[in-house]
Structures are given as C-alpha cells and as structure tokens.
C-alpha cells in the first residue's frame, strides 16, 4: 500500500464548493490536494447556465468579499448580465449572469492549476480515514492512502448518484459522469448520517431547431455591473447574447397529465426529496393545475456550442414524452433534443451533524461544504465550500473557526439554516430568509465581510486599504452633507421644480434633500458646487445610508438584541435530558442538534421561548457553580 504524507488537507470533489475550498486552503498556505472523478469536470455547471439571481447574487458578492473566486470567474466568462429588481429597494437588487459554461469551467480550472500549494488529482475517493475519532485522510480507488490533517467533503450530487429519464435509469452522476459509489459506506461507518435528495434538469436543444420569431427576446443590462469588488467595471462592458421567453400551454399540460404514470416522480420510483422552489414541469402542472401557462426561458449554454438550455421545464419524463412536451411549446415545434432532461438522486448529509464552522460535530477534522450538505445551487455550494475550506485550514493552523452569523451575511443565514433546521428538501437561498435583509445588501458585502477575509488571510493589504479609503470617503461625505445648508432662494426653488421636487419652505441640509424619494446625491449636484470628488461606489452607499436611515437603524437595533443571545455560548457535552424544566420534545431536539449558542438553540424547531428561559437559568447556574 502506498502512503502519501505530502498534504495538509484533502478536498473531495472539485465542483463549485470544492474549487472554493481548495483555493482557500492553498491560499492560506496549506499544502492542499483536490480530488475529482474527472479533471474535465472541474467547476462544471451541469444544470442552469447562470451565476447569481435573487439572493444568490448576494452570496457571490459575499464569497468575493471574503476572498473567494466565483465572482471573479463569472466576470471573466459571462455572456449576458442583469441586475434583477433594480426598480426595487437596494436590499433586493441581485446580479444574475449567463455564463459560457465551458469558459467558466476552463477558466476556473486554470486558476486551480496555477495556484501555489494546490495539487489536482483525478481519482475517486473511496474511503475516509479516521483515527482516534478524528479524520486523518482518504483512500482512493487505487488503494493509495493520503494522510492529511483535515478532510473537506465537497461531494455534490455524486454520492451513489442515479439519473432517471422515465423508465431509463443510469447509475451515474450528472452528464453521465462517474458516480462515487464507495464513499457513502465508509462515511456511514464513521458515524455520518445520510439522507437522499433529488433534483433535476431540463433538456438541451439544438439552436438550429428553435424558432425564435415566436419568442420574446431578453436583453442584458447596459452598463453591466461586475460581481467582484476587484473587477474593473470597464472590463465587463461587452457585447451580450440574447435569451428568449416563451410559454407552455394547455396542450403541453395535457401531454404531461396523460403521461404522469410514466414519470418516476409520480410512479414512486424516485425516493429522494425534491425541491419545491425549482419544481419540474410535471410538478408545476400538477400543483398549479389552474395555471394555463408557465414561463420557459431559452438560454445559450455558451458561445461555442449549439446547445440551448430550456429554463423552466426540468423533467424526469421518458424521452418520447419529453419530445412531445417540448415540441408543444411555441418556437420549439421542431426542437431537436441534444441531451434529455433527467432527475438525479444522491446521498447527502443531514445538516444537524455540522457545526456552524461546517466541521462534523462528532468527527474533528472532517468538514463538509456544498450540495452534499443538503443545499442546491452553485452559489450556495461555493459559499459553503469557501467556509468549509477556510475552517479546515484554521483547524490545521489551530485557530478559531470563522463563523459568519445571520446578521453579517447571507452565508451566515444559509449555514445557520442548514445546521439548525431539519431540512427535507434541497435548501435554496431566498432574500426572505434573511431577517436583517436591509443590512445584508449585495452593494455592501465588502464593508460587511472583507475584514473577515483579511483576518483569515484571503484578502490582501492593498484590498483592505482600499476598503478603508472607501469607508472614510462615505463617512466624511455624509458628515459634510449634514452640515451644508441651502436656503429657500428662488434659484434653489427653480432648480428643485426643474427636477420634479417641491420647493423649500425653509433652509434644509443637503442630507435632508437627498432623503426625498425623487432626489439623490447626483441630482442635487448643482446645489452643491463645493463637493469633493467621490467614487461611484461611495456615492451608492451614501445614497442608501441617507435615504433608508430609519429602516437601517431599526434593523441595527434588532441585530444588537440578536447578538446578545447569539454570544451566549453553550458548552459542548451538556446532556439536555438532565435539565428539568425543559420540555421533553425540546430536550430531545437539543440533544440531537447540540447547538453552539443560545440563539441557535432558540431557532431549533420544537424549542420554545420558555425552554430557552429555563436553559438561560441553567447555564447561569453552571457558571456560578464553577465560580463558587
């Protein structure tokens, strides 16, 4: 048996989570090896050709602020980009880009290949090594053993994967890639609790068989906003592709209804739990029977392929039904399907086994990030991969883990939800899941998180100095705007009328003017001839902080309350069933989840506020016992 001792950390999988984990560990100075079943599938996008979208765009920004790669990579490889909800409040603005899938994958692979301290290895990992209860490495299919100090699982949908297209079932990962069939068993033996989830993808259609004249074109933004805080906005202004919108109709729905018995979802062949937010077209037709049509977006998979993605029509119907179904949609009458739609089932881990650091509670040194934690989506995966990678490296460095809480970022909301809720379907991020949404905007992800990225060593001195300058710019300019007063002169009144605002009754500060819904920093420039040069990024923050001040302050007060209970740590190893006064159901839930702090405990379903009060008294009596 060959044994290799060259690496500090092994990353299992090189999808969106694995890439972030591997890069983070290597950049934090640890010798890192990343295993993938195929080097060609590094950063593969096996489903939709998008990065970002509502709330997912926030995640990408946060990944970037912490020093991750996803934002930079999509800035290099997008072919259309849009800021969603731009007419709504700043908290729900979200970037979404169409990626050239091959470019995205290739560019990310290049970054990994050229990263110092990082080695790529094509091999299926078959076993987790555990010694003294700690993860100490992995064994691959050729029986070679890699001894490491930590292991990060980023196995995505590959564990015991099986793909279903009607009656046709293959035991593969996405796109016919090799599944990882051995590792689950080894993990179960190590005490990992596994559940089975399901997701799906629509067909890809040859563009030459699509009639776009029957569809509505969809354009990207001009100008384009980059994802990464480090990307020069000028570098992302380029010609963009069009996408197209069409609709299903009653004929499509009849075809589906008539063949439901052949859908593995409805015939009971699929055991895994599928997501409700990304339903297959079968689900949409059954659950929303009163809707006469559903949206279908046609999106290119890249610039150098004829394959187009049929967004909105994922399915696990047999091929002959798929052909009829797609061809009933206007513009797809002659559609030629290059790749069939299919559903995929896979093993993943119950989130409650994980600490907020994404380390397994019972197996020190074993971390997990990505879809294998029960999430869905590239962005959710990448965010967890980054945190799991950072914390595996911190573990090896014997430093405290990096935990982002719910008041600091969507990443915090995502991970907290995964580890404190018993989820029965793949978890997707949504802005409504963030209770401090107004504070957690995509525009201020750098202000919220960049310093944390710096502390762990993923953000450079230059980047931090740049952030310091930006923050100082915002602070001093808001202070100046509060002091400059404009009189209620005719000149001022004429100007305000000319921009559709009401004239002043008495003198007002510039800050007060900016607060008016119809005005902003740029519009009132003529009233403020002395203003210094302020960067566009700072102006954005200035407008938001002034306009939404009341709302922001209210959330900040709520965050202060939240932090108090979140900071109250619960020592590990408490047997909650011995605490009299906590209800039985809550005792069991607490023992099951083993929350890290009082805040987390309060979010576990089945734990009531009264249980938390009792727990508070218990924790305090423990503290006093120690002192006395």
């Amino acid at each position: 048996m060959i044994e290799i001792n060259d690496y500090d950390i092994a990353i299992v999988g090189a999808g969106h989570a694995g890439c972030e984990a591997a890069l983070a560990c290597a950049r934090m100075g640890l010798k890192t090896i990343v295993f993938t079943v195929s080097v060609n599938s590094i950063a593969l996008m096996p489903c939709n050709p998008n990065v970002g979208g509502s709330s997912k765009g926030h995640l990408v920004r946060e990944i970037d602020a912490l020093g991750g790669e996803m934002g930079k990579n999509i800035d290099r490889t997008f072919i259309q980009s849009k800021m969603l909800n731009s007419s709504k409040g700043p908290a729900v603005h979200s970037l979404r880009a169409q990626a050239d899938k091959d470019d995205y994958s290739r560019e990310m692979r290049k970054v990994l290949e050229n990263q110092e301290n990082l080695t790529i290895k094509q091999a299926e990992v078959t076993e987790l090594l555990v010694e003294d209860g700690k993860a100490t490495g992995v064994k691959i299919f050729t029986n070679i053993v890699y001894h490491t100090k930590a292991v990060v699982l980023c196995t995505g949908v590959y564990l015991k994967a099986r793909c279903l297209c009607g009656e046709a079932i293959t035991y593969t990962g996405p796109n016919g890639l090799q599944a990882a069939n051995a590792l689950s068993k080894s993990l179960i033996e190590a005490g990992v609790i596994i559940q089975r989830f399901k997701t799906g993808t629509p067909a890809r259609i040859d563009v030459r068989s699509i009639d776009f004249s029957k569809m509505e074109p969809q354009y990207g933004d001009n100008p384009v906003t980059p994802f990464s805080f480090s990307t020069d906005p000028a570098s992302v202004q380029k010609e963009q592709v069009k996408c197209y919108l069409t609709y299903t109709n009653e004929k499509t729905h009849d075809i589906i209804r008539n063949n439901l018995d052949r859908s593995p979802m409805y015939s009971g062949v699929i055991e895994g739990k599928g997501p409700r937010y990304c339903p297959s077209i079968e689900d949409k037709v059954v659950k929303f029977a009163d809707k006469t049509r559903h949206q279908v977006f046609l999106e290119p998979e890249g610039l150098h392929t004829n394959e187009w993605y049929v967004d909105g029509m994922s399915s696990s119907m047999p091929e002959d039904v798929q052909i009829q179904m797609y061809r009933s949609v206007p513009g797809l009458e002659n559609a030629h399907i290059v790749r069939n739609a299919y559903a995929i089932e896979y093993d993943c881990f119950k989130g409650k086994q994980l600490k907020p650091s994404l380390e397994f509670k019972k197996i020190p040194g074993l971390f997990s990030g990505g879809q294998s934690n029960g999430s869905s989506g590239y962005e959710e995966a990448a965010a967890q991969g980054l945190i799991a990678g950072i914390n595996a490296a911190r573990y090896v460095q014997e430093k405290k883990p990096l935990v982002i809480d719910r008041s600091e970022g969507y990443i915090g909301v995502l991970i907290d939800d995964l580890v404190t809720k018993d989820s029965f379907e793949p978890y997707r991020m949504m802005t409504s899941r963030a209770e401090y949404r107004l504070l957690l905007r995509q525009d201020n992800a750098d202000i919220r998180l960049r310093r944390k990225g710096y502390e762990v060593g993923l953000i450079s001195d230059d980047q931090i100095q740049e952030l310091d300058r930006k923050e100082e710019e915002i602070r001093s300019e808001i202070a100046r705007l509060k002091t400059i007063r404009v009189g209620a002169s005719k000149k001022t009144s004429d100007f305000l009328s000319s921009v559709g605002s009401t004239p002043l009754g008495t003198a007002a500060t510039l800050e007060e003017l900016i607060r008016r819904p119809e005005l902003n920093y740029d519009i009132i420039a003529p009233l403020d001839p002395e203003r210094p040069v302020v960067s566009a990024a700072a102006i954005e923050q200035i407008n938001i902080e002034i306009k939404y001040n009341g709302y922001l302050e209210r959330e900040q007060r709520q965050v202060a309350q939240f932090k108090k209970i979140e900071d109250r740590k619960i020592p590990s190893g408490i047997d909650f069933t011995t605490i009299k006064g906590i209800r039985l159901e809550a005792q069991q839930k607490l023992n099951d989840f083993r929350p890290d702090n009082l805040g987390q405990a309060s979010r576990i379903q089945g734990v009531s506020p009264a249980d938390i009060q009792v727990l508070t008294v218990y924790l305090s009596s423990r503290d006093r016992e120690k002192k006395e």
Binding site: K88, I582, V617
Partner: protein, 462 residues
C-alpha cells in the same frame, strides 16, 4: 451578573380573584420613569419618583391620560436592594380586579412589557439574588408557569377571536408571500400597481385589529377563568354542589354567542378563582333535566375542560357508568368529589385511589362540609409556584393585548412605507412582524411559514 440588559417588566404580583387589593410590580431600568408618567398627586402633579429614596412609600393616584383610575400607595425599591436587584416599583391598588387590570394596562402602554411567567424570579436568580441551590426550582417555576400560560392563552381567548386572528394571519402571510415571490422571481411575478391594493388590504386588517382592541377593555375579547365541568351520573348531587359552589346570588349567568370551542354558561367566583362551568345546560334548573346529562354528554364536556369535577355518591357502589367516566378522565386535570359523606359510606377513598391518581375530596353538599378542602385543591392546581406567585392567569391576556397593539403599530408602519413611496421589499419587514405577533397571541410559531407559503401558493423557479 446582569448579562442581558433588561427592559422593564410588569405584572400583577398578588393572587387573582375578587380581593379588593392588588399589587402591580414593575422591575427594570425604567421602572421609576414609567411610573412617573402615570403616578401623580390629586392635582395631577408629578411625584418625581426618579428622585425618591429607596424603600419609601408614596401616596398618590394612577392616571390613564387625564382620567384618574385609582388611589394608590407606591413603594420604591432601588437597585440592588430589591427582589430582582433591579429598580422596582410596587403599586398597591384598591379598586378591585377590574381596576388592577386597568392599572397594569396603563403601565404597559407607558413602556413596560408584560412579564413572562416566572420572569421576576428568573431575573432575581440571574442577578445572583437567589441562592444557587434553588436553581432547579427556579427552572421548574418558569417551565410550569409557561406551560400553564400556554394552555391558558388559548383557553382565555374566545373562539371567535381565535378564528379571526387566524384569518388575519392568513391574509397577512398571503400578501407577504406574494411580494416575496415577486422579489425572488421578478421575471415571473409583477408588482405593478400592487402597493395600492396592499394599502387597501392593510387598512382593512387594521380596522379589524382596532375593533378587537376597542372591545378589549370591556372584556369581550377574552373569556377569563378556568373552564370547568361537573360530571357524574344522575342523583349523585351535582346540582346541589353547583348551588353550593356558586351561592345563589353570586352565580352569574352569561350568554356568550358565537363561541365555537366552548360554551361557558355559568361563571362562578369560587374563593378568588373564576370557574366557567361548561356544558351545564339546564344545570341551574333543579328539575330532572339536570340529571339527564348522561355519560355521553359528560365525555364531551371532559374533553373541553381545564378542570373536571367528578362527583360520586359515597353511599352507593361504583357502577359501569362511573367506571366509564374514570376511563375518560385519564390524564386530565380532575378532582374526585365523594359526596354524601353524611350517609353511611359504601365507597371509600382507598377504593377511588385504586381507580385513579386524581386527588379526592370528601364532601357533604347537604351539610355544606368539605368545601374548604375542595377550594384548597383547586387553588393548588391552578396557582402553583412556591417561590413567587407573580404569574397570574390574566397576565397572559395582558400579553395578548400588548401583542395586538404591536400588530396595529406594525401595520401602521406598512401603511406609512406605502405612503412614503417605498418599494415593496420594505413592506414585508413589518408585515412579518405583525404575523409573528399575531402568532404569539394564539400560540403559534412562525417557523418556515413564509417559505412554505411562497412555495405552495406561487409557482416558483425558472
């Protein structure tokens, strides 16, 4: 030791009931400031308690706005020399239960929060005032108090109000789910013109809440007391017991239409507790009708009660009907009343103990014997708590009302956001706040309701 800085809490600190005197206790950093807002001289002048010495008593009047509510004595205990070690004020009222509640409401409207069950004691413990050895009893007190409050909060809410709140919640989360669906999938759902529609709907919601609140003071929203049923087979003496419990002149016959969950027919003041005698159709009628309430009817009553008084005739043997009732009271709050102790005993207490764990009391309705024992048992069952008895039945109700007022405020904020031309994402913050608080009125948690609603009502996902 004060590791969570405390807001100011308030509750009635004396046992509930008809006693004329009651104490409202306030504890927390603003206790004196809040009291100063409502405690004045007969001429309406401030008594300036913020400058009062510790352990002093002050004479004055409680005002709700311009209206004088009660003549009171107020004791001031400054931190750390109080039970909770926080600034504490105790208002000694004289005006009876209704006035005591009025004073509590006024205190809450002026900035105090209704105390959670056991909260004064919890603070006393966390602040080191109570000995460590009592930690477990503190925890017990909180747990049992909350359990009682939780059960009680639903029972005290009239069925129609419960349904109405349920309906309000449903409408609020529907609006929220629609907005959130549109924000999540903007290419699918449009919010054009929606704020106007929402404004109209929120105004309607607010009107309903305000109407509920306006009825709160005259007690139409809450039905207080312990839902009690008197069961037993014919001729064991139920009606004479009832008359004895009530005392002819004290029983209040109420007519409460529209309640779907319970039919309270007779309210009885019994040793300071209110018993709502349930499903007692015709029970005050001393004719045969009373005794026609058979086993079947008793079973329904048993399921809807907080307290079951099971009457047996000690002068005759147990019959099949009795045994059936024993089966149906299993696991319920029940007191076995062994009546007719004036006759030769056939049925003994020991025999009853073989049948059930429920406490037994021996009485003679004819001789009016044993009623003190019964009262003692009921009080023990419902007014538990040895360290402190701050945790009263109607504090729960005060909390419910306070939450309803917050709901009203949150909905006002939604209206203001709409009127200020804010975008839709700002509305949902306050809508969800209203939803949460309405949930706590009827004892329902929010959990993942919003996500569930989004997915079940709106077809999401490209």
């Amino acid at each position: 030791m004060n590791y969570i800085s405390e807001d100011t809490i308030a509750a009635v600190a004396t046992a509930p009931g008809v006693a004329g005197i009651g104490i409202i206790r306030l504890s927390g950093s603003d206790a004196l400031q809040i009291t100063d807002k409502i405690f004045k001289t007969a001429g309406g002048k401030s008594l300036d308690l913020v400058n009062a010495e510790t352990h002093t008593i002050h004479y004055g009047f409680i005002y709700d706005g311009d209206e004088m509510i009660d003549e009171v004595l107020v004791s001031v205990m400054l931190a750390p020399r109080s039970y909770t070690t926080e600034n504490t004020v105790e208002i000694n009222c004289h005006g009876g239960p209704f006035v005591i509640r009025r004073v509590l409401q006024t205190v809450i409207r002026n900035g105090a929060r209704p105390a959670e069950p056991g909260e004064f004691t919890k603070r006393a413990f966390l602040n080191g005032r109570i000995d460590l050895t009592e930690a477990e009893s503190v925890m017990d007190l909180i747990a049992s108090g909350n359990e009682f409050a939780r059960k009680n909060s639903l029972k005290t809410l009239r069925g129609s109000i419960y349904n109405e709140i349920h309906d309000l919640r449903d409408r609020i989360i529907h609006e929220t789910a629609f907005i959130e669906s549109a924000l999540d999938d903007p290419e699918h759902y449009s919010l054009d013109g929606y704020p106007d529609e929402l404004h109209k709907n929120v105004v309607e919601l607010k009107n309903e809440i305000e109407s509920m609140l306006s009825h709160a003071d005259d007690g139409k929203i809450l039905s207080e007391g312990i839902n009690t049923c008197l069961v037993g087979k014919p001729n064991v003496g139920k009606s004479s017991l009832l008359n004895l419990l009530a005392g002819e002149d004290k029983a209040i016959v109420t007519d409460v239409p529209g309640t779907t969950r319970d039919a309270v027919e007779v309210k009885i003041q019994f040793g300071g507790l209110t018993l709502n005698m349930m499903d007692t159709a015709g029970i005050r009628d001393t004719n045969d009708t009373v005794e026609k309430i058979g086993v079947e009817k008793s079973r329904n009553a048993i399921n809807n009660s907080d307290l079951i008084l099971f009457v047996l005739d000690s002068s005759s043997k147990l019959e099949d009907d009795d045994i059936e009732i024993f089966d149906s009271i299993n696991g319920k709050n029940c007191i076995i009343i062994l009546n007719k102790s004036d006759l030769d005993p056939v049925l003994t207490v020991d025999k009853i103990h073989e049948m059930t764990d429920a406490p037994v009391v021996v009485v003679s309705a004819r001789n009016e014997d044993g009623m003190e024992d019964l009262l003692h048992l009921v009080r023990e069952m419902f007014l538990k708590g040895e360290i402190s008895n701050n945790d009263q039945v109607y504090i729960t109700n005060e909390r419910q009302l306070s939450e309803l007022r917050h709901v009203n405020d949150s909905l006002s904020l939604v209206l203001r956001s709409i009127e200020d031309g804010m975008t839709e994402d700002f509305f949902t913050v306050d809508l969800m706040d209203a939803y949460d608080r309405l949930g706590s009125v009827i004892g329902e948690e929010t959990g993942d309701d919003l996500a569930d609603r989004i997915f079940s009502e709106f077809c999401m996902g490209k």
